[in-house]
Symmetry: C2
Subunit: 406 residues, 2 copies
C-alpha cells in the first residue's frame, strides 16, 4: 500500500508529444508493457542515466543515439532490463530501435531505447517488434496515463504529475510519468522518468535545468541503496508553446521553468518512495549543521540505509539508539557527539548528545505511529544541510523481493 | 535457526581465568545476563573496540582503564548497551566497576566494563551491583560455557571454541566466547568476544597478534552493515603455560599462536554470521582479481549489504543480475564489465561480462538451495583478493528487529 499517494491525477497533454501503449506480452500476458513516446520534430531532448558501471544495454545505446541525432521517439519496455546480457544485449536494443525507426520512417539513431525488469535474460525482440503496431495505432497526445501504467513493474500505482507555468502571456505545460519501487538509489538519474514540456528552451539550458532538478529530487531518494543498471530520466521540450526561447540559466522565465521541473521531479521521486516495495512509512531524513552538504548527505544516507533503523520504523518503535548508531558510523570526518541533536517530527529525542529531559517513550511512539515522519539530525558543527526521502523495511519488502521472479 | 552451527563444543578451562555468571534480572527475569571474568595477576590483556564515533560509555571507560592499569577483571552485562546515555552513562559504567573492584579488593581502573543490549536507556546500576555476589560466588575456571550463555542477546545459541597448541614441550590452551547476531558490521572489532590463553606472551606481541587476527576474522563479517556502538574483542594471556615467553612477531611460536588465535577468531566470527538474525544461508563472498585488497573488500561488502542480493539468497533464487548490479555500483575506480566473472559455488554464471553459455536456471537453483554458498567474483583487473562472510535477509530478520524492544 503506497503511503499517502493519491490516485493518478489528470495528466495534461503536451503539444508535440504523442504516446502509445500496448500489452505486447513481453513477460506476462495482458498487461501494458510497451510504450512509444513520439516527439514532434524540433523537440529538444536531454537525459541522465545511471552511474552503475554495469549499465544495461539500452542505456549504452540511448546515450550513443542521443549524441548522434535529436530523438524522434522513445521506446520503453518492461519485463526484461536487458542488463548483464553482453554484446547480444546491444544488438537486441538496436534491433528494437531499428524496427520502430522503420515504422516511423526515421533513422535507428533517432530512437532512444529504455528497458526495465529482470536482469540477465535476453530481450524478446520478436515480441517487442510485434507489439510496435499496437503502440503506434494508439499514439495520441492524451496517452500519458496509459503510458504511466505501461512502464510499471513492481509499482502498485501509476505515477505522474502535471503543472502549468505562465511565461509572459503564454501558458507552458509540463507533464511527466515515472516508475520505480525497488532497486532505488538513483545516482545522477532515477529509475525511469519521462517528463515533457512545450516550453521553448535551448538544448544547453534544458540540460542544465535537468541536472539541477535531478540533483534535488531523484538523487535525493533511496529505498534499498541499490542503484539500478537501467536508471534514466528524460526531459523533452517541444518548443510549441511559443514563449520567448529560454536561452540562459538566469532570469524569471528560467527560474519558473526550473522551479516547475524541480517540483515535478520531486513529486515523482517522492511518489516512488511512497510506493516503495513494502513501504508502510514515508520518511524524510533532514541533516543540518554539517560542515558540507556532502557530509550531511553521507549521514542522511547512512541512516536511510540502515536495516535496523528501517525495521524500527516499520515497527513504529522509537528505538532512536539505532539512528544514533547509524550517525556514528557515517563516513564523515567531523562528528561531535556532545553537539548532536535528533528530533522525530517535533519531538526532541537527543540534545547535546544525551537523551532529552522531556522525552518520553509515549511521545516517541505517538510520532512513530504516523505514516509520514521527519527525522531531523543536527550535527552542530557547521551550517550545511541536506534532505532525502526514504521508506521503511517491512515483511513485504522481503516477500516482494524474494518472490520477484516467480 | 543457525546455519550449520553445532552445539557449543566442550570449552577447556584456561589456567588463570575464572568466570562467574548470574541472572541479575537486568532487563528480563531468569536469564543469565551478568558475567565476571577474572584474570590472574600478571595476565596481559589487549583489546580492540568499535570505531563507531558514538561509542557506548563502557567502551570509553574500558579504553581509559586499559591504558591506566592491567585489568584484574572484566564485567559484562546484557540488556542495556549504555550507549547514547551521555555523561550519566559514564558515571553508571564507572559505578559498576567501582562496585566490583570493592568486592575483589582492587582499584576501579582494574575493571573493564562491557555492555550490550538496548541503546539510549540508562544502566540499572543497582540491579547490576546486586548481581555481583552471584557472579563472584560462581567464579571458577570451568565457567566458560555459562559465560557464553550469559552474554547472549538475540543470539539463538551460545558461541565458543577451544584450541590447543604445542609450543616446544608445553601445551598452550586457547578458549573464547562471543556474542552477536544483529547490528553486525564490525570495524576494527566485533560485537563482544572474550578470548583467553595461558601462553606467555609480551603485551606488544599479544596486541599485534590481536590486530592481525581481528583483521582476518571479525573485520570480515557483516550481517546488516550496522556497526554497533559497543563492539569489543578482548584477548587475554595469563602466561601460566610456562612456555618460553613469545616476545617478537616472528618465529615458529608466534606463528603458531597467531594461527591459533586467528582460527579461533574466524570460528567465532563465522558463528556470529551463522546465527545472524533470521539467517537461513551462510554466504561467503570472495572477490579476486582486484587492483587492491581494499577494492576487493569494497566490492564484497557492496554485494553483502545489498538487500536485493540478500533477499534473493533467502528465496534461493539465482537472480544473479542483482549481484551484477551491486558490483557495478561498488565504490571502486576500476571495473571492466568485459572481464567480470561470477561463480556460485562451482557454477559459472557470468564469464567475460556475459551470461555463461553452460549456465542454466536449473544449475543456479541447485546451488541456491544449499545452506552454504560461495559467491566468487573475479574482477579480472589485478591480483588482489579478499573474502568476507555474510547472511541472507529473511522475514525473520524483519520480525526480530521489529519486535526487538517489545
Amino acid at each position: 500500500m503506497p503511503v499517502g499517494l493519491r490516485e493518478l491525477p489528470p495528466l495534461d497533454s503536451v503539444p508535440g508529444i504523442r504516446l502509445g501503449t500496448t500489452a505486447a506480452g513481453i513477460r506476462k500476458p495482458d498487461r501494458p508493457d510497451l510504450v512509444v513516446i513520439e516527439c514532434a520534430p524540433g523537440t529538444n531532448v536531454t537525459a541522465v542515466f545511471t552511474r552503475n558501471r554495469f549499465c544495461a544495454a539500452p542505456v549504452t545505446v540511448a546515450r550513443d543515439h542521443l549524441e548522434t541525432a535529436p530523438p524522434r521517439a522513445l521506446l520503453i519496455n518492461t519485463g526484461f532490463a536487458n542488463a548483464g546480457t553482453g554484446p547480444f544485449g546491444l544488438e537486441d536494443a538496436r534491433a528494437c530501435c531499428a524496427a520502430l525507426a522503420g515504422q516511423l520512417g526515421c533513422r535507428t539513431e533517432e530512437i532512444l531505447p529504455f528497458s526495465t525488469g529482470i536482469i540477465g535474460e535476453r530481450l524478446p525482440v520478436s515480441r517487442i517488434v510485434a507489439g510496435l503496431p499496437g503502440c503506434l495505432m494508439n499514439l495520441n497526445e492524451n496517452g500519458w496515463a496509459e503510458a504511466a501504467r505501461g512502464i510499471m513493474t513492481t509499482d502498485t500505482v501509476p505515477k505522474g504529475s502535471s503543472r502549468k507555468i505562465n511565461l509572459g502571456s503564454q501558458t507552458v505545460l509540463l507533464t511527466g510519468v515515472a516508475k520505480g519501487a525497488g532497486m532505488i538509489r538513483p545516482d545522477m538519474a532515477t529509475m525511469l522518468a519521462f517528463v515533457a514540456t512545450d516550453a521553448a528552451v535551448t538544448p544547453a539550458v534544458l540540460n542544465s535545468c535537468l541536472l539541477t532538478a535531478v540533483n534535488q529530487s531523484f538523487n535525493r531518494i533511496t529505498v534499498d541503496g541499490d542503484t539500478s543498471t537501467n536508471d534514466a530520466c528524460v526531459l523533452m521540450a517541444t518548443g510549441l508553446a511559443r514563449n520567448s526561447v529560454i536561452d540562459r540559466v538566469e532570469g524569471e522565465a528560467y527560474a519558473k521553468l526550473l522551479g516547475s521541473v524541480t517540483e515535478t521531479f520531486i513529486g515523482l521521486a517522492q511518489s516512488i518512495v511512497r510506493d516503495a516495495e513494502g513501504a508502510t512509512k514515508f520518511i524524510t531524513v533532514e541533516v543540518r549543521g554539517g560542515l558540507t552538504e556532502s557530509d550531511c548527505l553521507a549521514v542522511a544516507y547512512t541512516v536511510a540505509h540502515s536495516p535496523l533503523v528501517k525495521t524500527a520504523f516499520f515497527a513504529s518503535d522509537p528505538n532512536w539508539g539505532r539512528i544514533l548508531a547509524a550517525v556514528g558510523r557515517a563516513p564523515v570526518e567531523r562528528l561531535d557527539f556532545s553537539k548532536l541533536a535528533i528530533h522525530l517530527n517535533d519531538v526532541c529525542v537527543v540534545r547535546q548528545g544525551a537523551p532529552d529531559n522531556d522525552y518520553t517513550e509515549a511521545r516517541g511512539i505517538a510520532v512513530m505511529r504516523l505514516p509520514e515522519i521527519l527525522i531531523r539530525i543536527d550535527l552542530g558543527v557547521g551550517i550545511a544541510t541536506a534532505r532525502i526521502w526514504t521508506s521503511d523495511l517491512s515483511h513485504d519488502y522481503v516477500r516482494i523481493n524474494a518472490e520477484y521472479r516467480s
